[in-house]
């Protein structure tokens, strides 16, 4: 029985367990006075309890089985391979196992494979078959046994509701803890690989080196293939593009928010605000396409008319488009804090005779400043982590320059170029992407914390 059929059968079993549990509780109930008088809980809970006894252990068993199945099967098959093959390095052994599993699935390409491979493939097929059978058998018998056990234990005085609600709460808690698990997973994945990387390349060279060319040589005597991992040019490139984006987005977003919350009539607001938010909903890959095919050539032509030489992958194009993308982000955050400033402050200022813009500049903005600064920091963290626009519109060459008309590369671009396509695992080239990821994670984390800190610490409480 394959996995999906097994799951379907399990679902049917759970439903059957529910109905039997419910039925048994009803048959035990004293219905002489109408309703189920002597039952501790409603029949639903008895049914659920039986179903849970069937479902939870079976699902756990299946998950456990599947996560360990492949490792155990592989080691069983490897044990049968000839001595010479078994002594190969783990990489080569992995290749051999790949071939074996390909043969087992009937995808033989080219020549007739060697006999020991065929034998291994046959045994692999056998073991897989046995494993699947055993899984089916154990899941089904476990489910049936536990259902019968739970069913036979049903008594009117059993506190079924409390038990079911306990399980319900535990499942909810588990779902909530997935957030922790994700963070741990992120940390684990980037830190683990980064540590490998820092064994090959010292962390000081990575953080302070000024030359980035991750191509490592295949042969030792190759020219220019030594691979150097100084990430400073990447950091500077990221900063340059983010700075351009923020120079566009912050004034524009802020002024838009001020106009919409202080000046615009409510009818203008209801139309313009959602329109601006569309900018935030457009996928970044679309912005990337727009930047690479429309904005970059435009800037290049403009530059040429002024006699400037502009790279076709200029930082300006990527930054400009990224800035446009962040405008609604800044404006909606700023809008929230500006509307949160109490009307009495404005009335006070207006009553003293200041104009509306003076009120905004000298009363509203100072009062909303912590929130605005927090919003700008969040926008910066978003600009730094933005990937697709820079992948499509910014360059690949790591260059240290502050000239927005030249092409620079960013941390995210390098992560994507290093990890997309064929990679050799455990080469410093691949691992450096994880080190860059770690940097990115740390920087965005710090920015987010700092933004929250600013908002919390300096926020004025008016109520």
């Amino acid at each position: 029985m394959d996995t999906s059929t097994l799951l379907a059968v399990l679902a049917i079993m759970i439903a059957v367990a529910y109905f039997f549990g419910r039925g048994r509780s009803i048959s035990m109930a004293d219905t002489s006075q109408g309703g189920y008088r002597n039952l501790n809980s409603l029949p639903f809970y008895y049914g659920m309890l039986t179903a849970l006894w069937c479902a939870v252990p079976c699902v756990l068993l299946m998950i456990g089985w599947m996560s360990f199945e492949s490792t155990i099967i592989d080691s069983l098959v490897v044990a049968q391979l000839p001595e010479a093959v078994r002594n190969l390095s783990s990489n080569e052994l992995g290749l051999v196992m790949n071939t074996v599993s390909n043969i087992a699935e009937g995808n033989v390409i080219g020549d007739e494979p060697e006999t020991y491979l065929v034998a291994a493939a046959e045994s692999l097929q056998g073991v897989r078959h046995t494993s699947q059978l055993a899984l089916t058998g154990s899941v089904l018998s476990l489910g049936i046994l536990l259902s019968i056990f739970a069913w036979s234990r049903i008594r009117p005085e059993q506190k079924a509701r409390l038990q079911v609600e306990g399980v319900f709460k535990a499942i909810l808690l588990l779902c909530a803890c997935l957030a922790i698990l994700t963070t741990v997973g992120i940390l684990f994945s980037v830190i683990f690989e980064s540590l490998h990387f820092f064994k090959a390349v010292p962390i000081t060279e990575f953080l302070f080196g000024t030359h980035w060319s991750p191509q490592t040589s295949i042969r030792a005597d190759q020219v220019g293939g030594s691979g150097s991992f100084g990430a400073v040019p990447l950091f500077l490139g990221t900063l340059l593009i983010s700075a351009i984006a923020l120079i566009i987005a912050v004034p524009c977003g802020l002024m838009a928010a001020i106009y919409l919350s202080e000046y615009a009539s409510s009818s203008v607001r209801t139309y313009v605000k959602p329109l601006l938010e569309i900018l935030a909903g457009v996928p970044t890959v679309v912005y990337g396409f727009f930047a690479a095919l429309t904005v970059a050539p435009l800037i290049r032509e403009l530059g040429e008319t002024f006699g400037l030489s502009v790279s076709s992958e200029s930082a300006l194009a990527a930054g400009l488009v990224m800035g446009v993308m962040i405008i609604p982000f800044v404006s909606s955050l700023a809008d929230d804090v500006i509307t949160a400033v109490p009307q009495s402050l404005r009335d006070g200022s207006l009553g003293l005779g200041s104009t509306k813009s003076e009120t905004i500049k000298q009363v509203v903005i100072p009062a909303a400043l912590p929130g605005i600064v927090g919003g700008v920091l969040l926008a910066a963290s978003r600009a730094i982590g933005e990937t697709m626009i820079v992948v499509m519109a910014a360059g690949l060459a790591a260059r240290m320059t502050a000239n927005p008309l030249e092409s620079v590369t960013t941390v995210t671009v390098q992560i994507v170029t290093l990890l997309v396509g064929d990679q050799e695992f455990n080469s410093p080239k691949t691992l450096s992407a994880f080190a860059l990821g770690l940097m990115l994670f740390i920087v965005t984390l710090v920015l987010n914390y700092f933004a929250l800190f600013v908002v919390k610490k300096y926020r004025e409480q008016y109520d």
Binding site: S67, S70, R161, E165, F168, K169, L172, L173, C175, A176, C177, L178, A179, I180, T182, T183, G185, I186, F188, S189, V190, E193, P251, C252, M255, A256, Y259, V272, L275, L279, G281, V282, P283, V285, V286, G288, F289, F290, L293, T294, I327, S331, T355, K356, E358, K361, L378, R382, G385, T387, M388, V391, M392, L419, V420, G421, G437, F441, L445, N448
Partner: protein, 449 residues
């Protein structure tokens, strides 16, 4: 001066170097014009910012639509094809292998040679053959499969043209007039353009709605490339994402709103959720690569894997919006339910959840729209592979719409630019539908208490 009423003016007067003493009102009036100008300027900045944002939006959309609308039409050429059994090398029409191996392109070449019988040189002939698409033969094969009787007969057929010709025909303007000057010739030679113009004059070239684009998967030939594979991949990925992230997100939100006590664990969970919401999406790609591919050894490029990564990415959004929806349910309803003896689980499942559902669904749809447009994490987990087949399930290798856009945008052929823009239009169409639905749902179902 001893008059107390004038003392204030006095102070101002001492500060101003002018010999004439000004009253307060005069001072105010003097600056008033300047202040009003500043006010107007400030307002204008606001309008300009909004105008800039809206202008960019307009530019973006007109640019994409301007580039992409032509991809929904496809150019066909009418040829007089002789389904010669000998040339096709088919002896038995019922033999599937023969049908598959037949030389359809040869028949088309023959048709072109008869059409332009004055072409004699070898190089010219090769150019002539390049008028029709490499994939035009598949059409003939389909035709033969459906209707075996046409074998050996002559029939007038509309055949797909090559992408260069397609681009030229589309850029030359109205077919009933002479070509416009800005027609894009690209790699076409003079001779090819003359042939095409002859065909146009004879009304043998026609533009039709490009059904192919929606019916087939990716291809290296722009005129044969379609987005069905990517759309199906996106749908499967979204199904996995929705099936996982919505129940888990709602469950987490219920726990945090209704069960969690104020303790360190709760605090820690909340901090984590807020952080995850701000983590760059590419980091989730690294997570998928290191945990799901390296550690759990899931195969690359499958919607299941993409769905898992996107689930982790959208969970914070869904949890946050679900919590807001749960919070909006007034406590009086809960208290009433508690008062007549409902247990906590009953209160939640029977009252809170149904009332919060519209808000939760809105949040989920917005989260899904975000996930649908997401590209970067999927690049990391290998969904960038060139895949021709339309995926049939969540474990078939596939790509998704945004990644397809990314892949096509890398292709140098001009015909791919319009394909890319058209794919973007389809993607934006999906997003607009989803967001409109979310807004509608909120307006329609959300109750205010």
């Amino acid at each position: 001066m001893t008059n107390p009423q004038n003392s204030k003016t006095d102070v101002t007067a001492m500060n101003t170097p002018t010999s004439k003493k000004l009253t307060t009102i005069e001072l105010v009036n003097k600056n008033l014009a300047k202040r009003y100008r500043a006010e107007k300027r400030f307002r204008a900045y606001g309008i300009a910012s909004i105008g800039f944002g809206l202008l960019c939006l307009c530019l973006l959309f007109t640019d994409i639509i301007g580039k992409g609308h032509s991809a929904f039409m496809q150019t066909y050429v009418q040829l007089d094809v002789h389904m010669d059994a000998d040339r096709l090398d088919i002896t038995d029409i019922s033999d599937v292998n023969q049908l598959a191996a037949a030389d359809y392109q040869g028949v088309l070449k023959q048709a072109l040679r008869t059409k332009f019988s004055d072409v004699k040189k070898r190089g010219d002939k090769r150019k002539l053959y390049r008028l029709v698409s490499n994939g035009a033969g598949y059409e003939l094969r389909k035709l033969l499969e459906v209707n075996p009787d046409i074998l050996g007969s002559r029939s007038v057929l509309w055949v797909l043209v090559d992408d260069d010709i397609d681009t030229y025909v589309k850029s030359r303007g109205n077919l009933s007039f002479a070509p416009s000057n800005d027609a894009f010739t690209g790699r076409l030679s003079e001779a090819q353009i003359t042939w095409v113009e002859t065909l146009i004059d004879q009304d043998k070239i026609e533009k039709r709605f490009n059904t192919n684009f929606f019916m087939v998967g990716d291809s290296r030939e722009p005129e044969l490339a379609g987005i069905r594979g990517a759309i199906m991949g996106s749908i499967y990925t979204m199904l996995v994402t929705l099936a996982l992230s919505f129940p888990i997100g709602v469950a987490a939100a219920i726990y945090l709103e209704k069960y969690a006590k104020k303790n360190a664990l709760t605090e820690f969970i909340e901090v984590n959720i807020n952080n995850l919401a701000a983590v760059p999406s590419i980091i989730y790609g690294l997570l998928g690569l290191a945990i799901f591919i390296s550690f759990f050894e899931l195969p690359r490029s499958i919607p299941l894997l993409g769905g898992l990564v996107l689930t982790l990415m959208t969970l914070p959004t869904i949890i946050i919006s679900s919590r807001a929806a749960i919070k909006a349910v007034p406590p009086s309803i809960e208290e009433a339910a508690m008062g007549i003896g409902a247990s906590k689980m009953q209160v939640i499942l029977h009252h809170v959840l149904p009332l919060a559902m519209p808000g939760m669904l809105t949040g989920a749809i917005i989260g899904m729209a975000q996930a649908l447009g997401e590209t970067a994490p999927l690049l990391m987990i290998g969904m960038v592979a060139f895949i021709v087949d339309v995926p049939g399930g969540i474990t078939d290798p596939s790509t998704v719409l945004p990644v397809q856009i990314f892949l096509w945008s890398d292709n140098p052929e001009r015909a791919f630019v319009e394909k890319t823009s058209a794919a973007i239009m389809v993607l934006l169409g999906f997003l607009i539908i989803m967001n409109t639905f979310a807004v509608w749902l909120r307006k329609r179902l959300e109750r205010r208490w």
